[in-house]
């Protein structure tokens, strides 16, 4: 989550005022602090300097006093006479001692700080002393003795038995100022200690030090107050004392022998090169300023707090009406145009509130107008939308209808094609096998074909193609086809018995019937009318602008292309149709087709073409016509790489064979009445027993009898639905290797595929018939014969033994 920070006015003000107050008071406090510090330092400077010079003076006075005292010891005449006599060997040591000791004891009594007084002779040997222990002692190495021969001299303090003592010495001289001996005094330094220990006005860490230089070190004459153990320190570690020992006077902020920061005043003592310093720790010296600074900071914080509180109160007073205004503005934004601000003051904010209220009123007024307009506009839009939706729905419906109509058209076209345009070729023509194939396209065109079997020896094949597509073309095809049938019927009726009208006559008559319509419709029909005369082995052909007929000639193993010169039907009313005659031999194949076949295209737009087709026929000429046609279909599919074609694809193949004539042919006709079954069975038995050659064996005969009885009773009961006034023709043809029975009827056709398998468990009484037929003969076919009758075709093989 992202935290969004909205600084309010009062916070902004608080920051501003806070920074301002901090800066101001900070500068003030800093200035005051610096000022106070300077004053303080000046004070401390003065105090330390005063203390230093004061002590120096007192110390010097003390020393001079002691000097005077030691000189006083040496001054009595008696002592000096005794010393003269001792020096001239006039008296012995013991006598000297006896004379001098009382004098020294007197002197000790009068000077309270003299712990002991002794006299050393010029060799440094103590010859008289107030204390027995000093007698005979050699003090010639003592600095006091060395310097004391010439002047009064105070030696360095030594700690002896818990007290600081020092040798005080001075010369004892004769009347001619000749040196007679040295007075050696052991001085108690308590007074000097007190003098230096008095740190009045220097605080807890204040300290007065007196030092002398011993090589590179400073020797404190008396132990420092803050750390009494430190007697000798390096010169460099105590810069102030070093300065004093160099004879300088001054004040500095530095570190002392402990390494602690100190403020120190220093000066020389002006005795033996000693220096004196008075110092105080910086921490203590500055403590008052630090306290002042803390006090000032606290004060500043307090001021800031008061500032902020005051500011908050003030800001609240200013922002409350602004907040109220914002809240009201939000309400207005949310749509409450009645919201108003309460104006409580007449200042700028008050005026803002008044202006806002005015604005809101104006807004409410204009909003009302706008709303009215929006309502009006919305109503218009809704109306327009409704009209649009209606229009869209109508259009959609129209489109749907169109699609439906198209689908319907395709379906109708397909039905027309299957029902009206195409006929199944005859299959039982001895000497010729005919196969037809049609693959309808999405757009129906008017391909059609028809077969008229005049006899077993004569077959007419018509293949046609109407220009154009769709239902009109399909209907035109159907019409043309029926005109051919009509023309044929009329001409047959006019012809003498046994003589068939010529194809060109049929075409001419059919053309006369359709030419006007075709011209009116601006359409035309290409047709190839071919009559196969199996007896004379020739085909009479009227080609009216149709595709070239492919003729495979078995004798040459090559294809010839047959083409007539007539115009298509519907081009010219006065067309005279010419007929050409093409002879054929068994093994020849004639292939008729629509241009949908040769005009199939591959991916590069190339046409399948008649040469490719002829090649295909030639390659597969040995096949049965059904298989040949299937090979052609596969070739076209492979060529165009598609199962669907732009045009209908129609193809009729006629393969001519050496006709096989039956040895015998008989036919009876029976009524569709169940008692006639006995006649049918008797006919079968008669045929089987009177075969040319040997009669059929009993089992086969019984099976044929059973099959024909079942088939016949099926026709009577189911195809004719029990009507007894219909006819059934039963024909039999006997060949060398088989007997063929045909049962022709005009009843309903029968699809054996719809029959249930028989129940061999006896659970159903019927349903055995079809099974029995199929089991009793070698081949059974349900087909439509050349006369349009339904036919049950049964074959039983003869087993010649």
């Amino acid at each position: 989550m992202k935290l969004v920070f909205h600084p309010s006015i009062w916070l902004k003000l608080a920051i501003f005022i806070g920074v301002l107050a901090l800066l101001t008071s900070g500068v003030l406090i800093w200035t005051a602090y610096m000022f106070a510090r300077d004053i303080l330092i000046d004070q401390i400077h003065a105090r330390l300097t005063v203390t230093t010079s004061n002590r120096q003076a007192m110390l010097l006075a003390y020393i001079h006093q002691q000097h005077a005292l030691v000189r006083l010891v040496a001054s009595p005449v008696r002592l000096r006479r005794l010393l003269e006599e001792y020096a001239d060997d006039k008296i012995a040591g013991a006598a000297f001692r006896a004379g001098a000791t009382p004098i020294l004891a007197d002197a000790q009594k009068s000077a309270g700080d003299f712990l002991a007084i002794g006299i050393a002779d010029l060799t440094g040997k103590v010859i008289a002393a107030t204390e027995e222990t000093y007698l005979g002692k050699d003090v010639s190495a003592e600095p006091s003795f060395v310097y004391g021969q010439h002047m009064a001299y105070l030696g360095l303090p030594q700690l002896t038995r818990g007290r600081y003592q020092a040798f005080l010495s001075g010369p004892a001289t004769g009347p001619d100022s000749q040196l007679l001996g040295v007075i050696m005094v052991v001085l108690d330094l308590s007074l000097m200690e007190q003098l230096l220990a008095d740190t009045t006005g220097l605080g807890q860490t204040g300290e007065i030090l007196v030092g002398t230089r011993l090589g590179d070190t400073v020797r404190h004459l008396l132990p420092p107050r803050n750390d009494p153990e430190i007697i000798e320190v390096p010169l460099a570690s105590t810069p102030a004392m070093a300065e004093a020992l160099r004879g300088h006077k001054g004040f500095m902020h530095t570190t002392d022998y402990r390494g602690v920061e100190v403020l120190v005043a220093y000066q020389p003592v002006r005795y033996q090169g000693w220096g004196i310093s008075a110092k105080i720790d910086v921490a203590e010296a500055y403590a008052p300023v630090e306290r002042l600074r803390l006090a000032l900071l606290a004060l500043e914080a307090a001021i800031l707090l008061v500032d902020l509180v005051a500011l908050y109160v003030l800001a609240r007073r200013f922002t409350r009406p602004i907040m109220a205004l914002a809240k009201t503005a939000a309400a207005v934004a949310a749509g409450d145009l009645e919201a108003r601000v309460t104006v409580t003051s007449s200042d700028e904010i008050g005026r803002l509130g008044t202006t806002f209220n005015h604005m809101t009123e104006e807004l409410a007024a204009s909003y009302a107008t706008l709303e009215h307009k929006v309502v009006e506009r919305t109503r218009e839009l809704v109306q327009a939308n409704a009209e649009l939706a209606k229009e869209i729905a109508e259009r959609k419906r129209a489109e749907e209808q169109l699609v439906q109509a198209h689908a319907q058209e395709v379906e109708i076209g397909f039905k027309i094609q299957q029902m009206l345009l195409f006929e199944q070729p005859p299959r039982d023509l001895p000497g010729a096998r005919v196969a037809a194939l049609t693959i309808p396209s999405q757009t129906i065109d008017g391909d059609f074909c028809d077969f008229f079997k005049h006899s077993d020896r004569c077959l007419d094949v018509i293949v046609g193609d109407v220009m154009g597509k769709g239902i009109p073309a399909a209907l035109m095809g159907a019409a043309t086809k029926s005109h051919f049938l009509q023309a044929l019927c009329r001409l047959i009726a006019l012809s003498p018995p046994g003589k068939l009208p010529e194809p060109k006559e049929i075409v001419t008559l059919a053309h006369a019937e359709v030419v006007r319509q075709l011209i009116n419709l601006e359409s035309f029909v290409t047709v190839c009318y071919a009559r196969f005369d199996l007896e004379r082995r020739q085909v009479d052909l009227v080609d009216c602008g149709h595709t070239t007929t492919v003729h495979y000639q078995h004798s040459t193993r090559a294809c010839a292309l047959v083409q007539g010169e007539n115009m298509p039907l519907g081009v010219s009313e006065w067309e005279i149709f010419e007929q050409i005659t093409v002879p054929f031999q068994p093994g020849d194949v004639l292939l008729f087709y629509s241009d949908g076949l040769t005009e199939a295209r591959n991916g590069t737009g190339e046409l399948f073409g008649v040469e490719r087709l002829a090649g295909c026929v030639q390659t597969h000429s040995q096949l049965e016509p059904e298989e040949l046609i299937d090979q052609i279909r596969l070739a076209v599919v492979a060529f165009s790489n598609s199962e669907r074609f732009g045009d209908d694809l129609t193809c009729v193949a006629v393969k001519l064979e050496e006709p096989e004539l039956p040895h015998a042919q008989v036919e009876i006709e029976i009524a569709s009445d169940l008692p006639e079954l006995r006649r049918a069975r008797a006919f079968v038995r008669e045929v089987c027993q009177n075969l040319p050659g040997a009669p059929l064996d009993e089992d086969s005969t019984s099976q044929l009898e059973l099959a024909i009885a079942e088939a016949t009773s099926n026709i009577m009961r189911h195809a004719y639905r029990g009507r007894t006034d219909q006819q059934i023709q039963i024909g039999a043809e006997v060949f060398a290797d088989r007997i063929v029975f045909r049962l022709h009827h005009l009843g309903e056709s029968f699809d054996p595929g719809t029959v249930e398998a028989p129940a061999f468990d006896g659970s159903r009484e019927g349903g055995f018939g079809v099974y029995i037929i199929a089991q009793s003969v070698d081949e059974v076919r349900y087909l439509r014969d050349e006369q349009g009758r339904n036919c049950i075709y049964l074959v039983k093989h003869r087993h010649t033994t």
Partner: protein, 118 residues
């Protein structure tokens, strides 16, 4: 159709007249048999005169068998010619019907408890 009916003990033997039983006469046969099937439980059909039977005839035998079975009776067949037998075998009906060569065998088959040793 004139059915010849003979009674042997409690077994009714029906001798089918005519040479054929096919679609032309099964209806008549079935209606003639109807009262007999209702009255009798043990029935034998003697088919020795029959030369031709088709699927309708077969169906009428099945119908008779089922009627008798429904009332606890039974039907047995005898005297079947080679051709008729071939049809029965074609549609496996020889497994459904009890078929005997002679009329006596068929009748005796209704009295199994007496046994052949008597």
């Amino acid at each position: 159709m004139e059915l010849v009916v003979e009674k042997m003990d409690d077994v009714t033997v029906v001798i089918l007249p005519g040479e054929e039983l096919d679609a032309s006469n099964t209806k008549e046969f079935k209606s003639d048999m109807a009262p007999l099937l209702q009255a009798q439980a043990k029935v034998v059909f003697d088919l020795s005169q029959l030369r031709f039977v088709d699927s309708s005839g077969l169906g009428s035998f099945l119908s008779c068998l089922r009627q008798l079975n429904a009332t606890g009776g039974d039907l047995k067949l005898c005297g079947m010619s080679q051709r008729v037998r071939a049809l029965f075998e074609l549609v496996r009906m020889h497994r459904i019907f009890d078929i005997y060569t002679t009329r006596d065998e068929a009748v005796r088959a209704f009295q199994p408890e007496r046994g052949p040793q008597e």
